[in-house]
Amino acid sequence: MKTIKEVVPRAIAFFLMMTLLCGGLYTLVVTGAGQLLFHDKANGSIVEVDGKKYGSALLAQQFTDTGHLWGRIMNIDTETFTDEDGNPVMYAWASNLSPASEEYKELIAERVLKIQEAHPDKAGVPIPEDLVTCSGSGLDPHISVAAAEYQIQRIARNTGRSVDEVQAIIDRYTTGRFLGIFGEPTVNVLKVNLALDGILTE
């Protein structure tokens, strides 16, 4: 009993102290330093041109226009979040489907058909898998270099740009592996599309 009387107040005091230290002070110090040193990055890497916010460079949007570069398949959610006026806003999640089921096979077959129809020039060429799979976050802003190159001719045809121009835009927003070793080379879909639309110029 004596021990409990001694330990309980001490445990409560310790809990309060750690809440202030690890929850309060630590979070504030990191926020302060982060805001000071890396302001844009700490605030969501928003792509803003002439005062208009076109999205976050790190969060995918869905593209289906034939003049745009298409990204990963998105499992769109318009029910969880709303804006101030109650209108639905877009977010997305992973599919969490097993890639070894019959249902999955049929689902992929549908996506393959759709992509083949949009790319008659690629008849007989297998589709890079990024274009038919859903990502881990559902918001993957990138596709592989192979998946971007697969779409170049379609984009050129539908935007009136030359293949070289489209290629140059894609190259501009391609990031290599870290140190040439870690991760995979990727193309940022939103930035390519903003450049194709003439919004993003650098």
Partner: protein, 578 residues
């Protein structure tokens, strides 16, 4: 070829950083001077003065365990209340409501036990206040409690004829001040530099380049961009082997893990302390070979798991390949099974993370395990079911493995007919009973929990996939809770009263029963005298012992779980072949 280089370098970087960190932690544990002492010693003394703790007080194991349990109980109670009343508290710009009592209980149990299982999505459920003042705090203290218990066990193994095993308050305080906070500040700033968000502003809405037309005719023209103090929590969630995501998609979410570099830092953070503790152990028992032996046993299990998962995921599935219509082998892309994986990570980086996170008790994910190939998804399941002793959680992984080491010397002792010894201490029935509690808590919690759930008709409604894969989703949930891991086959909807409560109870059982048992072993070993090494003493640092130890770990795991695994992932694999 690049993949092999990535796998190799990830392991090499991990070990190279862990060795010096292990030495540093040993000094902190003994209260010796380190380079941060000058700055931190006044803070440390301040904490003790406010708590009226005498640094030199040496606790017996019962008092040590009592402090750990009472402290955790207080954390559990306050955290639960915090979740339920978050709507009344500040820093809730999205106006999120308080959570249900069962979700609050589940989440509180989850974070206090260092599991960080999440039956919710952070950005849609929790306020900034709950995240930082509730969850971030538990990320620190639950890891520190694990480390403290390990320190106590190491003291128990090395002390001779003493009653005390150390002071709980100083062990926890030092772990937080000298190890967790400095590393977390470094890692979180590095993460912000890569694009992990860290702010207190409300969620942003941005204009979609292409509006989306819904079936009912509404046009969706805006996208939500979630915000919050994420980087500070992500850093400690990795370092403390916690794993609970700030966002629902965890470290697959681009705001938690935006680049291959942020991924490298987070992934190394997951295992660096558990690996370092092996070397700390060797140093503290004054026999580095003992630490290296435990390290090698753990590393061999980890490499085995990594190889199988890597081959399976790089292979992909026939359902995805569509008789060659989809390219899963070609140039300029990762190839393999990319369902549920991020383009910037590809296969090698995703698979390494998955094996790291489930061999530690971390549970954060950078790819969705529910979408792994049948055997690729079975390996993380199995790693958790082995009790997460291939490195495991901060502190708890190593004390779990030491229980297996005790079991191993006991079985080896039986074979040659000698009294078993470990580190010069006789292992007697009392220690054996406690070691068995540690080794069997995980299988008992998983099998009983999933057994009951499999009987209930409403379980089927929580599944996202049908058939054998659906069974795997449910088994994975209980394995994750019963291994204090926290990763998930995330299609499974666990936010129901039954799952929240039963998974919460599993987590508490598996955290605290082994913890008390480890402290009981520490107390009893500290009182023993040391026996001299003789020609008949079984070496616990040679290759034979390492082999035996791995064998025992796999044997306990395989015997317990083979039937359950054959109903889930193995059945799915065989169906896929047909």
């Amino acid at each position: 070829m690049n993949s092999v280089l990535q796998y190799g370098l990830y392991i090499a970087i991990l070990v190279l950083l862990a060795i010096p960190l292990g030495g540093y932690i040993a000094k902190v544990m003994r209260g010796e001077k380190v380079f941060l002492t000058r700055v931190l010693a006044p803070c440390e003394r301040g904490v003790y003065r406010l708590l009226r703790v005498k640094q030199e007080e040496d606790m017996g194991w019962k008092k040590y365990a009592g402090c750990a349990l009472l402290f955790s109980a207080i954390c559990l109670a306050v955290l639960m209340v915090l979740h339920m009343i978050q709507n009344l508290l500040p820093l809730n710009p999205e106006g999120l409501p308080g959570t249900s009592w069962h979700l609050a209980f589940n989440t509180a149990a989850s974070f206090v036990t260092n599991t960080n299982w999440q039956a919710y999505s952070g950005e849609a459920t929790l306020s900034y206040f709950t995240q930082m003042m509730g969850l971030t705090v538990q990320n620190f203290v639950s890891a520190a409690v694990g480390m403290a218990v390990l320190f106590a066990l190491i003291r128990g193994l090395t002390r001779v004829k003493q009653n005390g095993i150390g002071n709980f308050w100083t062990d926890v305080t030092r772990s937080i001040l000298y190890i967790l906070i400095p590393l977390s500040i470094l890692v979180s700033l590095a993460l912000i530099s890569q694009g992990v968000v860290q702010n207190f502003t409300p969620y942003e809405t941005v204009t979609l380049v292409e509006p989306i037309a819904l079936e009912n005719g509404t046009q969706v023209t805006q996208q939500i961009v979630p915000m919050g103090p994420a980087a500070s929590q992500v850093a400690i969630k990795q370092l403390g082997t916690n794993g609970g995501g700030f966002f629902g998609a965890n470290s697959a979410h681009p705001f938690e893990n935006p680049t291959p570099l942020s991924n490298l830092m987070e992934m190394i953070s997951i295992l660096v302390i558990p690996v370092a503790l092996c070397f700390t152990f060797g140093k503290c028992v004054n026999d580095k070979k003992q630490g290296v032996a435990i390290f090698l046993a753990m590393m061999i299990i980890l490499l085995g798991a990594l190889t199988v998962t890597a081959v399976q995921e790089q292979g992909g599935t026939a359902q995805l390949e569509q008789d060659g219509a989809v390219d899963i082998r070609g140039e300029n892309q990762a190839g393999g099974n990319m369902e549920g994986k991020e383009a910037r990570f590809g296969i090698a980086t995703s698979v390494t993370w998955t094996v790291f996170t489930t061999s530690a008790s971390n549970g954060s994910v950078n790819s969705m395990l529910d979408s792994y190939t049948p055997i690729g998804g079975m390996i993380p399941l199995l790693l958790m079911e082995l009790g997460e002793v291939a490195f495991g959680g901060v502190g708890c992984g190593l004390y779990g493995m030491l229980a297996f080491a005790i079991l191993t010397v006991f079985i080896a002792g039986l074979m040659v007919g000698r009294t078993p010894e470990y580190l010069g201490k006789k292992i007697e029935p009392y220690e054996m009973r406690m070691a068995m509690l540690i080794c069997l808590a995980t299988p008992v919690a998983i099998l009983i929990g999933s057994g009951i759930a499999a009987f209930l008709p409403q379980t089927a409604q929580s599944l996202n996939n049908s058939g054998a894969h659906g069974f795997s989703e449910m088994l994975y949930a209980y394995s994750s809770a019963g291994g204090n891991n926290g990763s998930a086959f995330a299609g499974f909807n666990a936010n129901t009263p039954f799952f929240n409560v039963s998974l919460g109870l599993s987590m508490l059982f598996v955290r605290f029963v082994p913890m008390v048992a480890a402290l009981a072993i520490a107390g009893s070993m500290a009182r023993k005298k040391k026996v001299a090494v003789s020609a008949g003493t079984l070496s616990t640092s040679n290759a034979m012992f390492i082999g035996l130890l791995i064998g025992i770990v796999l044997l306990v795991g395989a015997l317990s779980f083979f039937p359950a695994l054959s109903l889930g992932p193995i059945a799915e694999f065989v169906q896929g072949m047909a």
